[in-house]
């Protein structure tokens, strides 16, 4: 069975805080998944990843993660690991991104 090819977002951890960040359409970084740019074109996604990897002074561990367009017209994660990264630990609802609302 062929694997479904999802669009991608570029994600990483912020160098200072260590928290999860996403590349936006303007090439800047956001802490919100819904502000991530959704890359439909694999080549464009790879190029954006290379750009991210070149920003070692502000982030670490950049990679491409599967995402899709949600019903609200904004990107949402596909895999549960990426969904957890948008929220924080499930044992402390007051920690991580989920606490920021």
């Amino acid at each position: 069975m062929a694997r479904i090819q999802y669009p991608k977002v570029v994600t990483a951890n912020h160098l200072l805080e260590g928290d999860v960040i996403y590349m936006t359409a303007s090439g800047k970084w956001s802490r919100k998944h819904e502000e991530a740019k959704l890359f439909e074109d694999p080549q464009e996604a790879e190029l954006a990843l290379k750009m991210a990897q070149g920003q070692a002074h502000m982030l670490a561990g950049a990679y491409l993660a599967d995402a899709q367009l949600g019903s609200n017209g904004k990107p949402e994660p596909v895999h549960f690991r990426e969904a957890f990264r948008t929220r924080g630990p499930s044992n402390y609802p007051n920690h991580g991104k989920q606490a920021e609302g």
């Binding site: 160098l15 200072l16 260590g18 928290d19 070692a56 499930s90 920690h95 991580g96």
Partner: protein
């Protein structure tokens, strides 16, 4: 307990200064992440799912009130007010900022602690029986040897880049509370026929992808030969361990592929060479270490047994606490308290800064200033007077630390899993929480009796699931969390690896599946002393599989 000498102080402080420089160079862009990563890992700093994580060593699980108070201070000042005690007797902080980590390490150095070699392919924190120096069944306190190994392995130039990480565990008692058979090296203190103390050495135990029970490589090693012999094991492993495949790089694979007899010959050969030129540590150094582990001067006043019996009979909560959380001390006026970090529905191993302070204060006021961390993620007061039990229990209760569940169902081990860990394939903490909530009635847990449930969120098995009576392994099955059950594992002196029961269960199905196992156990056991593990070993896997997969059982 061991107090740093000037060399230790200088060494640890120099490492902090060195790391401060490395962090500075990472922040100003002189170091890339690829360059920085091995440096931070050697100092215990990981980058996890949501944040950095700092793993601090608590050598052989021993600490005093000053150190525990400092851990509380660090949790409050640089983290989110709590810490997570791990299965390797370490503490992990889940939310430090990169720029703060050198200050945290300095604060640790202030109380003779560090995070060195809590990661990387080197000899990790040496763990030991958490009842060491207090247990009634102990042959000898293993901690002076563990401290010697800590000093020997610290920054050992030959063993900083081993094929893979290397874990050593020690016990001084025949009852193995340190899981020595599931470590790269397990050291058991024994006596030979002349009643001289020495060590039995096991190698090649380990959990993870390929779980193995350690094999005896030397039945009796005289104490004086310890360092050259351990060095010989490490040399043989360093030379022959597989560096071609990360998943086959642990010493257990070398033992498995080479055979223990051949490996023993290689080690003995290396040992002879080693012994010829190995400079043994001077006796005064050994004596100085041993002197620091002498038992405290115990208060010898006899316990008023009548008064204690009255207190126990008038307070059912205290009685239940003493039955489950208190163990026999070698001194008849004293006892060992295990403080459970497993409140019903809580996160296994977590303690708030306030709770850490309460435990530190108790150690200072009632416990000769000693605390231990157990690999089962609990905190121990190793020496308390038995007549102080009612007062200690009262204080623990106020701090939410008096859960009377040690050794019972809700005293589970759970790794951080996908709530924190970048390697995890599924969550483990919420599974532990839901199981704990589902069996919240402690009376019911007591009725079920001794039970070890251990949960890992990936194949690396930090949650020791292979040696759980019921082991739970969280996996990613085609993008969905799936939980595999193993049965019949045992981490003690009668160690065994649990057997996989069958296909995995979804997150929603895992708690009901465990309930079915326990319903069956309660139905078929022959009385209360017939434990879950006894029954499993007697009747085998089949009835339990039928309980887990009733539909398949019906269709056969």
């Amino acid at each position: 307990m061991y107090n740093y000498n000037q060399f230790d102080h200088d060494f640890v402080r120099n490492r902090v200064d060195q790391f401060r420089g490395q962090v500075g160079r990472r922040l100003d862009g002189s170091l890339t992440e690829d360059e920085f990563k091995p440096l931070r890992l050697m100092n215990g700093l990981y980058l996890q799912l949501h944040a950095y994580m700092l793993r601090v060593a608590i050598p052989y699980g021993t600490l005093n009130s000053r150190q525990m108070n400092q851990l509380a201070m660090i949790a409050e000042k640089w983290d989110k007010g709590y810490g997570h005690f791990t299965t390797r007797q370490n503490i992990q902080y889940n939310w430090p900022k990169l720029k703060d980590t050198p200050d945290i390490l300095d604060a640790l150095a202030d109380v003779e602690m560090h995070a060195i070699q809590t990661s990387g392919n080197c000899v990790r924190n040496v763990t030991a029986d958490h009842f060491a120096g207090a247990a009634a069944d102990e042959i000898e306190d293993p901690r002076p040897t563990a401290e010697l190994l800590r000093q020997w392995s610290m920054d050992h130039p030959e063993f900083q880049f081993l094929p893979r990480k290397f874990k050593i565990a020690m016990t001084g008692s025949p009852n193995d509370r340190a899981v020595t058979k599931a470590h790269d090296i397990g050291i058991r203190m024994v006596r030979n026929e002349n009643n001289e103390p020495g060590y039995e050495i096991l190698i090649g135990g380990g959990l993870g992808r390929t779980p193995m029970i350690g094999k005896v490589v030397r039945e009796f090693l005289p104490k004086a030969d310890l360092l050259p012999y351990i060095e010989a094991i490490l040399q043989v492993y360093n030379l022959h361990g597989r560096r071609d495949n990360k998943y086959k790089a642990r010493i257990k694979i070398l033992v498995h592929e080479t055979g223990i007899d051949t490996l023993r010959e290689w080690i003995e050969e290396a040992f002879e060479t080693q012994k010829a030129y190995h400079q043994a540590p001077p006796q005064e150094m050994i004596d100085a270490i041993e002197a620091q582990f002498q038992p405290p001067e115990f208060d010898t006043a006899e316990v008023d047994e009548e008064k204690l019996a009255d207190a126990l009979s008038s307070d059912p909560l205290l009685r239940s606490f003493v039955e489950t959380n208190v163990s026999q001390h070698f001194d008849h006026n004293h006892a060992i308290i295990t403080i459970s970090l497993k409140p019903i529905g809580g996160t296994p191993g977590d303690a708030t800064a306030d709770q850490m302070r309460v435990m530190a204060n108790l150690a200072q006021a009632y416990g000769y200033d000693e605390l231990r961390i157990s690999h089962e993620q609990n905190v121990i007061l190793p020496h308390v007077r038995r007549d102080d039990l009612p007062e200690i229990h009262r204080i623990l209760k106020e701090a939410g630390l008096a859960t009377a569940n040690v050794g019972l169902l809700s005293d589970m081990i759970a790794c951080p899993g996908m709530d924190y860990c970048a390697l995890a394939t599924a969550r483990s903490i919420p599974v532990a929480q839901e199981l704990s909530n589902a069996f919240e009635d402690l009376k019911h847990q007591q009725d079920i009796g001794p039970l070890k449930i251990k949960i890992s969120g990936c194949i690396n098995a930090c949650g020791h699931h292979h040696v759980g009576h019921i082991g739970i392994l969280g996996l990613d099955k085609a993008g969905v969390e799936s939980y595999q059950i193993t049965l019949g594992g045992d981490g003690t002196e009668t160690a065994s690896i649990g057997e996989r029961a069958g296909p995995g269960f979804s997150y929603e199905e895992i708690v009901p599946a465990v309930s079915r196992l326990l319903d069956l156990y309660m139905e078929i056991r022959e009385g209360k002393d017939d434990t879950f593990l006894d029954v499993y070993r007697r009747v085998g896997a089949e009835p339990f599989k039928q309980a887990l997969y009733p539909e398949e059982a019906e269709s056969v």
